[in-house]
């Protein structure tokens, strides 16, 4: 049989390790190359158990996401400079708040999706994808006016604590962060360690993302793992959790050839920005907002138990080409396969029947709303 761990990015040089490399190995992690990094795909419990732990009442999963790019944008003109690169309302982002946005290209395609948080009027904090950090940060830097600087935080690690029990853990170790609202952001001490914390994540559960100096992350991770609610989870569970939550993965569901409107995340485009434009690709994106687009990202439920993976061809019930699956797999919380993919606009309505071409067979499926598993963010 052919044994493969999953779709990985082709590697050209030895992968970088995060500051938690030794801890991962001590926890029985299976390490895989991912976007130039050696990352834990799973620990000894396995992907299924780690996934279900993150959704279990009173439980929380701890992820090392230190491969993601962290940076600060300093300077009072940083807000306007960033708004020239993203369709989000960054001027309306208040100190202590975080926002999801996208860097767009001139065609309206997505260069990357990222989190932007405001620490002070003159200081924005960015988290970008590992696979795109070397593209995003030079791109941002190339568009900065005098007086605005981009500071890379390669000396910081990033943890994600996710699950229904995350708030209980945070109340015990970092009460200031436990009081944050959903998409709140700011400095907070966790177990005596000064961190930058956001109330957000990539699982659909309540939780926190914790930026911490690299030399303190081992101490913080061990402290969090010592809590009875917390277990480690790898990139395998992170992927199945985000898929169930209907959250896009850059490189699969988003890329330079897809627009935020097609991807179903038009809500990232601020009200003022819809009217005024002023971001790359604004003409194409505003046209799609007004007139719709030729294809849409939709949730798909295959009828049987066979997962339809990324790249699977989708055909309409009349046999015509309909589109392609961009993320697909097995949803442990539903005990069933789920997928997301781009389909022709006339096939994007909920309940529309589709056929998925898996290994020479045509498997029935239908368009369903996302998320597949309801979000449980704190309100």
């Amino acid at each position: 049989m052919s044994i493969e761990i999953g779709p990985e990015v082709a590697e050209t040089s030895p992968p970088k390790t995060t500051p938690l490399d030794l801890l991962h190995k001590a926890l029985g992690a299976r390490m895989v190359p991912f976007a130039g990094w050696s990352m834990p795909v799973q620990y000894s419990a396995g992907v299924l158990a780690e996934h279900l732990h993150c959704r279990a009442d009173g439980c929380a999963a701890l992820f090392d996401v230190s491969h993601m790019g962290q940076a600060s944008l300093h300077g009072s003109a940083g807000t306007v400079a960033l708004e020239a690169l993203v369709p989000g309302d960054i001027q309306g982002l208040k100190p202590g708040r975080q926002r999801y946005t996208v860097l767009t290209n001139e065609a309206g395609g997505v260069i990357d999706d990222l989190m932007v948080s405001r620490l002070t009027p003159d200081h924005l904090f960015l988290v970008v994808n590992a696979s795109r950090r070397d593209i995003d940060l030079p791109h941002i830097e190339a568009h900065l006016p005098a007086g605005v600087t981009l500071q890379r935080h390669d000396d910081r690690a990033l943890l994600a604590l996710q699950g229904p029990g995350a708030a209980v853990v945070m109340a015990r170790l970092g009460p200031a962060a436990a009081a944050f609202p959903f998409m709140g952001f700011g400095p907070a001490s966790i177990g005596g360690i000064d961190c930058l914390v956001s109330r957000s994540g990539y699982t659909g559960e309540d939780g926190f993302e914790i930026s911490v100096p690299a030399d303190l992350v081992d101490r913080l991770a061990r402290l969090l793992l010592d809590q009875p609610e917390v277990g480690p989870a790898g990139l395998g569970a992170r992927d199945s959790l985000r898929l169930e939550a209907g959250l896009c993965l850059y490189g699969n569901d988003l890329d330079e050839l897809t627009t935020p409107v097609e991807a179903g995340i038009a809500w990232v485009i601020g009200k003022r920005r819809r009217i005024d434009g002023g971001f790359p690709g604004d003409i194409a994106i505003r046209d799609q907002l007004q007139n719709g687009c030729a294809r849409m990202l939709v949730g798909i439920r295959p009828e049987g138990r066979a997962p339809a993976r990324a790249g699977t061809n989708i055909v309409a019930e009349d046999g015509t080409a309909a589109g392609t699956v961009t993320s697909g797999g097995f949803a442990p919380s539903l005990n069933a396969p789920v997928a997301m993919g781009y389909v022709r606009r006339d096939l994007s309505a909920e309940g529309t029947g589709l056929r998925l071409q898996v290994r020479g067979r045509s498997l029935p499926a239908r368009v369903v709303p996302m998320p597949f598993v309801p979000h449980r963010y704190v309100r």
């Binding site: 052919s2 493969e4 569970a237």
Partner: protein, 124 residues
């Protein structure tokens, strides 16, 4: 008297009274992780050696299973279709995949015995 042999692609074949039972090795199930889907060949299907004859999927990925020796499928194991995790729990026993009537009895002897497979795993 039954005898079990192995392939470099981590399938096992147990020959007993002229019928070959095929499964994947414990090493293979361990490497794949939690299985969530199994697709098996239907009885009556003629398989050639090395042909993709079954598919197993973990949460993350799909993997092909290759037929170790040529033959006609006489039975498949519905228990692992209903409960793919049975392959993880009992790869060498209850997690068998299918049984076939070999078309070339000599092909079985050409596969690795247990000691050779163990040594092969060391080199992987």
């Amino acid at each position: 008297m039954s005898e079990t042999r192995f392939t470099k692609s981590h399938e096992w074949v147990c020959l007993d009274a002229g019928i070959a039972t095929v499964g994947i090795t414990d090493h293979a199930q361990e490497a794949l992780g939690d299985l969530v889907f199994v697709e098996l060949p239907e009885p009556g299907r003629e398989l050639t050696a090395g042909e993709v004859c079954a598919v197993v999927e973990s949460v993350k990925a799909a993997s092909d299973v290759y037929c170790p020796i040529a033959g006609r499928v006489v039975e498949n194991n519905q228990a692992i279709v209903d409960d793919p995790a049975l392959v993880n729990r009992e790869a060498a026993t209850g997690g068998w995949f299918f049984r076939l009537a070999p078309s070339d009895p000599a092909a079985f002897a050409a596969l690795m015995d247990a000691a050779t497979y163990e040594a092969f795993l060391e080199t992987e």
